[in-house]
């Protein structure tokens, strides 16, 4: 395999790792509430800003700013769940049967609100987040990569593995999976489903914020910085099968690689369109994705 292809592949995989942080959270939300969170990109944006501003404005070291960004994203996620998501499972809404539509409108509105709020309060200008390490070029065989990207990738891997382990083995992980499979059954078995939903949103917000923080040196924090990553994550969760965490991880890596090669060999201009086209094709012909279950009504 030629050097450039190895480089493309590795870089694609690394990009995929960052995508995975976004996609896992979105997938978990779908699993537990059966909705797509259209404000997901704004969790990313919030994390990018939190990291960048905490580090730059308060002079906090990057290694502390990073987990703080995670916590901030988790906080925003928790507030979102608490204020807006309860009607989806507690029934006290006049939307009644139109819960899907409620979720679309309310998360869409939340997205617009957060984008414009940040635009107004902090300003529309982009802020460049401080890199984790200053080394700008490291050569590993055929691959050239920045120090920050390499370290960020490593952290990503650790976080993804940690999250996957959490979902699989921890107490709350099992609760979450139970609620995802059968909400009514889980609550009858004594599981606090509201708390499980809250935890999922916190985790989801935190992970997305983390991604925003890690990428902020390259993709600078601006009010609409989350829009693109969000669209990517929608694509990924559908490809991987809505609700499947392993599917999301695999699809993330795949999309990263596809975009990496596609940008060079097919079209740089339309590099962002590949995912969109894949998304449309999957939704039209195989909505359950690669790994999802065949859902939906008769």
């Amino acid at each position: 395999m030629s050097a450039i292809n190895v480089d493309l592949a590795v870089n694609g995989l690394i990009t995929g790792l960052f995508y995975a942080l976004m996609a896992i959270g979105l997938s978990l939300i779908f699993g537990i509430l059966r909705i797509v969170n259209f404000a997901h990109g704004e969790f990313y944006m919030v994390g990018a800003y939190a990291y960048t501003l905490i580090a730059l404005a308060f002079g906090v070291p990057v290694w502390i700013a990073l987990p703080l960004a995670f916590l901030f994203g988790a906080l925003v996620g928790w507030i979102t769940e608490r204020t807006l998501m309860r009607p989806l499972y507690q029934g006290y809404t006049s939307w009644g049967l139109m819960r899907d539509e409620y979720a679309v409108i309310v998360t869409f509105g939340l997205s617009l609100f957060l984008i414009n709020l940040v635009d107004k309060i902090i300003g529309p200008y982009a802020y460049r987040g401080p890199p984790l390490v200053e080394t700008s070029r490291i050569t590993l065989g055929p691959i050239m990569i920045s120090g920050h990207r390499l370290v960020a990738a490593g952290i990503c891997i650790a976080v993804i593995i940690g999250t996957a382990a959490l979902i699989k083995y921890s107490f709350w992980g099992k609760q979450i999976r139970a609620v995802s499979q059968n909400r009514l059954g889980a609550s009858l078995a004594g599981i606090n489903t509201a708390k499980a939903s809250a935890i999922v949103f916190m985790l989801s917000g935190g992970l997305a914020a983390f991604a925003g923080a890690l990428l902020s040196p390259v993709i600078n924090a601006s009010p609409d910085v989350g829009v693109f990553p969000a669209v990517k994550s929608y694509i990924i969760v559908v490809l991987g099968g809505l609700g499947s965490v392993p599917g999301s991880i695999i699809a993330s890596l795949a999309l990263g690689v596809i975009e990496s090669f596609g940008a060079v060999y097919l079209s740089y201009q339309y590099r962002d369109a590949f995912g969109l086209i894949l998304l449309m094709l999957f939704l039209l012909f195989r909505p359950q994705g690669l790994f999802g279950e065949k859902g939906r009504e008769v």
Binding site: I115, Y270, M280
Partner: protein, 339 residues
């Protein structure tokens, strides 16, 4: 209003002495909404008598653009239950159709605009057919992707469309007041069209599809036809609005198709009252005029409106129209008027 003889379930009832006509019973709600919308339109028609400021007349004209988009989207989302996130894309498609025809083939607006309606309608039909089996978030995501792809294509085809620089489009009417009434005329015509549609069996079928698609099929409703028809109609009206806007602004850019524009349309519809005939149209004016006014004052308009969307969705599903309705009921009750 129809009078019903009170009957406990189980008691036999005599045949009603007065059989209500279909106009009264099945369309009372829609007819009230239609009349309210007409009153609002009359008010808007009177404005140029008092306001001659060209800027504010322009603001109102753009409001009409959004009112058409909101009304068309409401037909698809509010009445048929299909939450498409592509309305702005269809406006953009309409705008570029007439713009490109004018630029490259010297097609006059009076032909370009109908062409835009047809192109947007046909693409809408195709998209509607393709997304037939999807609903909820799946439908939203697919239409979102479609909209983004369309925008990227137009934005990147710089040789043909001049991309983000925008395409100059010939004007159509020189006088802003004439434009005002022309746009308003189109809006009212579409309002009347939607009203007649909703009063007909189509209105019954679309709402049945929204409420329970399987039950609608069981009852014999040709769901495939009506869902695609709703999509096509919604897209065609959006294309119409876009084409008109193109000749009014004399410039089209891919910004017409941004997701943020769809966000504005959705906001207006939800705040006005999704699934009501008058709400979205009236709210389009309120939202846009206030947003332009606030823009001068401090620019918080988008924050406010996004917040309102969230609050209304969460607490006031029926929107401003619903609030007006319950306000009126309370008012009548207090005054002791019998219904």
């Amino acid at each position: 209003m129809v009078s019903t003889s009170p009957n406990a379930a189980g008691a036999s009832s005599p045949a009603p002495a007065m059989k209500p006509s279909s106009a009264q019973l099945t369309t009372t709600k829609t007819t009230v909404e239609f009349r309210a919308a007409l009153i609002a339109m009359a008010f808007i028609a009177a404005i140029p008598l008092f306001v001659s400021n060209a800027y504010w007349l322009g603001v109102l004209i753009v409001s009409m653009y959004f009112a058409i988009l909101a009304g068309g989207w409401n037909l698809l989302a509010g009445y048929t239950g299909q939450f498409s996130l592509a309305p702005a894309a269809f406006a953009m498609i309409g705008a570029y159709t007439t713009g490109l025809l004018a630029t490259y083939f010297a097609v006059p607006p009076l032909l370009g605009i109908p062409a835009a309606i047809v192109v947007a309608g046909v693409i809408g039909l195709a998209l509607g057919r393709a997304v037939m089996r999807l609903n909820g978030p799946y439908l939203a995501l697919t239409t979102l992707s479609f909209a983004e792809i369309m925008r990227l294509v137009i934005s990147n085809s710089i040789d043909i469309t001049r991309g983000d620089l925008g395409l100059s489009v010939p004007g159509m009417i020189n006088n802003r007041i004439v434009w005002y009434y022309f746009f308003l005329g189109v809006l009212v015509a579409l309002l009347v069209g939607f009203y007649l549609l909703l009063r007909s069996k189509a209105g019954l079928f679309l709402q049945a599809i929204r409420d329970d698609e399987v039950a609608a099929r069981r009852a014999g409703v040709d769901v495939v036809f009506w869902k695609t028809a709703a999509f096509a109609l919604s897209a065609a009206s959006a294309g119409f609005a876009g084409a008109l806007y193109a000749h009014f602004a004399e410039l089209v850019t891919p910004e017409l198709g941004l997701i943020g524009q769809t966000g504005l349309i959705v906001s207006m519809t939800v705040i006005g009252g999704i699934g009501t005939l008058a709400g979205p149209i009236i709210a389009a004016f309120i939202v846009y005029v206030i947003s332009e006014w606030l823009r001068d004052v401090g620019g918080y308009q988008l924050i406010v409106f996004a917040a309102l969307v969230v609050i209304f969705a969460r607490f006031f599903r029926e929107g401003l129209w619903g609030l007006a309705k319950s306000g009126y009921k309370k008012f009548s009750a207090k005054r002791g008027t019998s219904t």
